[in-house]
């Protein structure tokens, strides 16, 4: 059907449909929307797109998205520089931020998975150990592992924990358990088992 479209339109639709979550129909809708948009609006989009590749890079310190050498978190003087939260992907930083965390981050760039051909050397683990090893006023006292509770996330966490332990700093992993607003009855047994294992003293104030 799209064969009848002009070539430039077909190319645009094809480019859109390569994006995650965009099927052929959505790709067409986006293309038609842009055709009807004003030249300024399209220019703005083109500008942002070409800047992504030119300006966005990974923070040399933690691996989060940055437009300078260091990201906004690493440059923020009000941050607690003694705790380091280790996450798999840059977008995980935003999720942990929402939870009110005020320390620093380290982005691994994925999780270990031999099936997908990802080994420890493909992730930012060497840099992590350098950061944890650093001495001086910015010495990190606690490393918090916040990888996904999937098999790959947990084996990655275990691998890192074994490397970090000898450095003598506090190594923790975020708790696995019940979601807020959830219901005991509809929680699967695996989650409940982990929640029971990770139970803690109740605070009565």
């Amino acid at each position: 059907m799209t064969d009848t479209y002009p070539e430039s339109l077909r190319r645009l639709i094809a480019s859109f449909s390569r994006l995650p979550g965009i099927g052929p129909k959505s790709a067409q809708r986006l293309a038609f929307f842009l055709i009807k948009s004003s030249p300024e609006e399209v220019e703005e989009l083109v500008g942002s797109l070409s800047e992504i590749k030119k300006k966005i890079r990974l923070c040399s310190e933690c691996g989060f998205y940055a437009d300078k050498d260091r990201c906004a978190v690493c440059n923020d003087p009000s941050r607690d520089r003694s705790t380091l939260c280790i996450v798999e992907r840059p977008q995980d930083v935003l999720i942990i931020e929402k939870a009110g965390y005020r320390g620093l981050y380290h982005v691994l760039g994925g999780s270990i998975s031999p099936m997908r051909g990802v080994g420890p050397d493909d992730l930012s683990i060497k840099r992590l150990l350098e950061r944890l090893n650093a001495t001086g006023s910015e010495k990190i006292r606690e490393a918090i592992l916040a990888t996904n509770p999937s098999l790959d996330g947990e084996t990655t966490a275990l691998y890192i924990a074994r490397k970090v332990k000898p450095l003598g700093l506090r190594t923790t992993i975020i708790a696995r358990g019940l979601p807020l607003g959830g219901d005991l009855e509809f929680t699967d047994e695996g989650t409940l088992t982990q929640a029971l294992e990770g139970r803690r003293e109740i605070l009565t104030g």
Binding site: M115, Y159, D188, E189, G190
Partner: protein, 370 residues
């Protein structure tokens, strides 16, 4: 608990059909390859979420059609719910609970059903993987978290085997070893506990079908480790012991993925020494024991499917089996020829004729024939 209504569309060779049932006995009567087994398979699939033949989805859809569906109404504890499965070519199966899409993991209500099919003899005479599959399926049915453990274990195992093939560093492999020990211990504990629950019933049913005074035992054999005592410590020791062999053979040699279950009759293994009749009786006894465990653990009646069984059971054993299942839940059986003699008090049952995929109540069928 019983199935009060069934609606099928384009499921294998079954013509579109809508039927109502009482909580008693349903007999499907017809020649070979007419659709009796397909009908039972459909009930099994919609109730338990897997096909007992474990084939590809495409094969479930009637040739030339795009989609198949099986819907049942289940009466339970004075109320009812609808469950439906839709199989579409090239798409994932869709499950519906009272018309709302649900995931298999989050079924609100279970349909308790067990089925015996002639191919189940493979559990007895096939490879250890078939016995593990039976136990894992039966166990996950009453304890869904077991399935999550098995899936997680399988993934960790696959990852570790890749590392062994690639001759990866020991510090990386050991992370997966730790995971296999942790998850593996849960899997083995579950299986052994389930075995302890199942075995008394299994022994009783086997004695009922195969001989009264036989010495019957079940043994759980650990794959490369000792399954008695402290499992975690035994697994750790076994992994340590087989480290070199694992490295040279490039595969994980220790763990529940290599376990087996031995059934022994007078001290001899069924798989090797049992006759066809004895193996068949044992396979049937396993399914009946699975039923008994559900009754006990879930405190519910269990729907029973028995495919092509009665032609091969002698009248005495047939009576014994009927005594065990009739009146304790709804039963669907298939027969090729005459309807077997029913025990006293069970003269009332529904007969469905099955011919070329068409299912009709016997009365209608007679009208057509006459």
């Amino acid at each position: 608990m019983y199935i009060s209504r069934v609606k099928m569309k384009n499921f294998r060779n079954i013509s579109p059909v809508s039927l109502s049932f009482q909580p008693s006995l349903v007999v499907l009567q017809g020649g070979n390859a007419q659709g009796k087994t397909n009908f039972l398979e459909a009930l099994y699939l919609v109730s338990r979420g897997i096909s007992p033949r474990s084939q590809k989805d495409e094969e479930l859809v009637r040739w030339g059609s795009e989609a198949a569906s099986v819907a049942i109404r289940v009466e339970s504890g004075g109320t009812w719910f609808n469950r439906e499965v839709r199989v579409q070519l090239g798409k994932k199966k869709v499950w519906l609970n009272n018309g709302h899409p649900i995931t298999k993991k989050r079924w609100q209500e279970e349909v308790w059903l067990v089925g015996y099919f002639p191919r189940d003899i493979g559990i007895i005479e096939g490879s250890p993987s078939e016995r593990r599959h039976f136990v894992d399926e039966a166990l996950s049915y009453v304890k869904p978290s077991h399935r999550a453990y098995v899936k997680r274990y399988e993934r960790a195992l696959a990852q570790r085997n890749i590392l062994l093939r690639e001759h990866a560093r020991g510090d990386l492999i050991s992370v997966y070893t730790e995971e296999l020990i942790k998850t593996g211990t849960c899997i083995i504990e579950n299986r052994i506990r389930y075995g302890e629950l199942l075995t008394p019933y299994l022994r009783d049913f086997y004695r009922c079908l195969g001989g009264e005074n036989v010495r019957f035992e079940v043994q759980y054999i650990g794959g490369g480790y000792d399954s008695k005592g402290d499992l975690r410590a035994n697994l750790e020791r076994a992994f340590l012991r087989s480290e070199n062999e694992e490295r040279s053979r490039e595969i994980t040699l220790v763990g529940p993925h290599r376990d087996d279950i031995l059934f022994l009759l007078e001290g001899k293994e069924f798989r090797i020494y049992g006759s066809q009749g004895e193996k068949k009786s044992l396979a049937l006894s396993l399914k009946m024991a699975e039923m008994a465990v559900i009754r006990k653990v879930k405190n519910s009646k269990v729907i029973v499917l028995l495919d092509d069984l009665f032609s091969e059971l002698d009248p005495k054993r047939r009576q014994l089996l009927f005594k065990e299942i009739l009146g304790k839940g709804q039963v669907f059986i298939t027969v090729t020829d005459d309807i077997p003699q029913m025990p006293e008090g069970w003269e009332e049952y529904l007969v469905l004729g099955v011919q070329g995929g068409r299912i009709s109540t016997a009365g209608e069928r007679e009208k057509k024939n006459g």
